[in-house]
Amino acid sequence: MGLVLLSGILLAACVDLYKVEIETDKSYLIVEGTVNNLPDRQVVSIFRTKTDAVFKSSEFTSTIVAQKGGSEPVAEARVVVIENGQTRYDLTETEPGYYEMPASFLGRVGSTYQLSIETAAGQKYLSSIETISPVPPIARIYDRYNAKGIFDRSTSVGQIATNDFYVDFQDPADQRNFYRWTSITYEIQKICATCRGGRYYVTTNDGECRTDSDLSVNNFFDYECKSLCWDIFYGSSLDIFSDVYTNGKLQKDKLVAQIPVYQSNPALVVVRQMSLSPDAYRYYKLVQDQSVNTGSLADTPPAPIRGNISNTSDEAELVLGYFSASEVAENRYWLERRNTVNAQPNGLFASKNGRDPNFELPSSLRSVIPLADCLPSNSRTPNSPSGWRF
């Protein structure tokens, strides 16, 4: 009995939310970017955190969230990726702080890459030289329904069931390998616009909401999509692995992604298995230890993590983030979602917003309700992703 009670205490009743308020007093450059071998958009983002940001646990859920303007884009910088010490690729700024590799660029296994940044203010930053090491293909991939799922703040319920993805892969024996897995999920979205206190109108360019004084500010009207439309979700987990204990062996049943069951519609899940350099692995491992693998009885006390980007004239400046170069082995997985429970067809909107869509009905004002445009962005696309089954 005693141990039963004890284990109960050890397992469940012992973690509580804790409220903090943290004021920053230093500003840091944060750089995120990976070059790879895929014919895909390859983006380097450069931001600077604000000196006087305040991070505070929220009243009810104690979450600490990114603040609007908590960091500012570093715009108009000159960003260059140098391949093998010779070829220079100039990156184009597509929106403030986001710099895109030329569309023709494809990273090659064995080639080296280095990121160079010169800010508008004239400060120069240089990354270490990263080599793309090869990655083996995904030998097998399968999913398993997980009713308990994960905590997902973007939903109204918080805790949400998932489809867990597992992979097998054959680690090459003749080399040291470091891995990282990411996932991208495409979900069908039926609702393309929401107007608060107004109505949707089709214009020459994009559609827009126009405020109507006869509607309450708390009135929401939702509008169906004009065309097929997909919402894009990027996995937020950090999954890495090293073959230090497993060199040359077939690895089985490695959990690499947990995809929330927002709706019962099939979805396309792109699972990427990427190679990492040893230093990139070490960097991500530290990030993981300090913010994911925490809460054990014996944590490693956190410490500043040094990435691979440094100010050429001030070695001591701490730059956050890591510029890495990877080969990517991709699996585009058609997730049927036949085995899910409680999920609704076309329920993505309801899962995310905590309410069913409220459509504007034909009225004396207008008899035909317009359909909304599916506006492409980082998280939405009207173009069918490759691998989508109709």
Binding site: L6, S7, G8, Y18, S57, S237, L286, G295, A303
Partner: protein, 800 residues
Amino acid sequence: MIRITILGFLLLFLPVVVQAQTIVSVKGLVTDSLTNQPLSGVAVSTSIDSDIYGQITDENGRFQLFFPAGRRGITFKMLGYVPQYFFLDENSQSQSLSIRMEKVENQLEQVVVSTKGYDETVKKPLLGVNQINIKTLSKIPAAFGELDFLRGVQMLPGVSSVGEASNGVNIRGGTTDQNLILLDGTPIFNPTHMFGLFSVVPPDALSNLDLYKGNVPARYGGRAAAVMDITLKTPDVNKFRLSGGLGLISEKLMVNVPVIKEKLAFYVAARGAFHDFLLPYISQDLDSVKTRFGEVVGKVFWRINTKNTLSAMGYLSTDYFQTNLLANLPNVVGETTFFDHQTKNFSLKWVSLISPNLDWQTTISSANYDPTIGTIETATLNKVRLESGIYQHQVTSSLNYQRNRQKWEVGASITKYRIRPGILNPGNSQSVNRIAVPDEFANELAAFADNEISFTPRLAATFGLRYSYFQNRGPTTVRSYQPGEPRDEFSVLETTRYEKGQTTKSYGGFEPRVGVRYAPNPDLSFKLGYNLMRQYLQIVSNTTTPIPTSRWKTSDTHIRPQISHLITGGVYQSFDSNIYEVTLEAYLRQSKNIIDYKPGADFLLQEFPETQLVQGRSLAYGIETMLSKKKGNFTGWVNYTYARTFNQTYADLNVLERVNNGNRYPANYDRPHSFNASVDLVADSRNSFSFSFVYSTGRPYTQPVGFVEYLNNFYPYFDERNNQRIPDYHRLDLAWHIKNPSKKVDQRWKGNWSFTVYNLYGRKNAYSVFFKSESGVARAYKLQIFGAPIIALSYNFVFE
């Protein structure tokens, strides 16, 4: 009380006629009045003029004194017992005595922790020595009713820990591995079961515990901060006894069997906790949790003849715990983590009485600790194990010589270490390789001398000197690195191979230990002490408290031994015939070559741990005050400690290797203010109540200085280490002990109940505060080990 005072008075004024020509010899046996067990360590003394003829009874409870014949009294004193006196007149001849000493508690008087050591007549000049006997420990309310010496010592000033799941205690600013924990002379490498929740000594066999946190006698060595010397009971050669208990957590049983009366006896004591098969019936969530632990200790005592005794001790301890609360074995695919560890200690002790004033003790011991961390592969349920181990073999021999006003102990010891840093054992796994890090070998030789001397009744001193010599030995591979650069794969200059028996690096040095005591009057004393201690074996770990599988590492070419200097001063005042005592001690401790780790350090299967760690210095200081009431129906103590501990990495390190930029930072266990109170109240001959209260400042943790959106999540980033503190800790516990509820007297079966409530007002004390990034947001959490009152009932019995 009054009786003792009068007797003492009489002793002082007995007219003494010295007849120096005739020397008489008085020898005898001292036993416990109730159990008839021989009592060792009883101070036997008689005083003539200013000379004290004294001796401590040996392991068999025997003593022999020689002194000029005359009218005099002999006193027998031991902590926890009522002093006994024996009177001789002018015509007394040499004779043999049989002294039966009565325990104080049998007189409804209580004895609490004494800061004075047990022999007041010799007036030990040692400072910072606490002796706790098993009776005191068992009165302190314990979590789940399981008696725990580590929680007991934390009620004393100067002893703290990082929290309830701490794998050991921190004494005067030392790390947990800087304490030498000895169980009947054998070292204990992991003092806890279930990650700090329970201590590893079977309570029934425990006799007492000496805690040396100030002056440490020179016979102890190898650790830099303190010594906890746990003595097990000596088997009773006269009486069969069965004792045991049932508790919320465990069952325990002890059998004492005399084989040959007065000559040979043994006991076996065991405790086990194996209730986890019930878990799934309570909740399906607990299905994957498995936990069990236990230990068994056996001891044999053989009185070969009047001059020689032999005792042997064997101790085994085992632990298995499957949990999701500890980090799993990284880079092995699997979802369940388990820990298991075993300790196997043995010792053989031979005591030979050469002359009444001289004895010779020789101890051979071995200690082995084997921790394993493992992962269970999801599909096959195969266990992948990372096994490690430490073996220590030791021979110690010493001569003890007692003279009029002084006492000598001179001896030497040889210690051999073998460390198995790690073997990854894949079991039947198709996915994991077998990887082994070569064993490490080392020797430690030491010679020591302790001298206790009283110059005048007011002034006494102890002088101790130890010389220790350490050799790290082959077979091994030693790298050399580019000076001034971080030690890593890239800065290796050359690699040297050493064969078996070759010494790769040696260290050595003197370790002086001095204590002086000045007592202007019998109730007041001042003490000063200085200690130097060297440590050649330590834990290298990057966690807040070492986990059972943390790696032990001997000093080597790159890892220099830890050296600690401790200066202590104290004032001790007793009032009211020693019923009350007030003490004040202050200390300053400076250590060099303490171990710190680089950010991201990983010691698992690391053949060259020097690439992962850095060394530095540590500064600790504090003031400890304590008021105790030592006798009566109401006993107890309150103490307050102010203590600080700071660490700093060496300045000659590369910028990238320094911790906290090379600045001083508080240690993980730095808790400036602590206050403890422990009270025991005897209501009547059956019922007694104990309360304890603890308060301490929250320990430091590292709070992020900001958060950034990165890799589709929201991550904290950090700057200075230990820049914030978790909430303060406080807790009240209660125990109600009911002795022998049956009213029959003289029965052979005696039972008693203990009802304990740990954390009476259910404070959710934080053990740690941590941050987690979850689906694009971050949250702060606090981890609590005991978030609610824990009520436990236990039953203990003795049959004899």
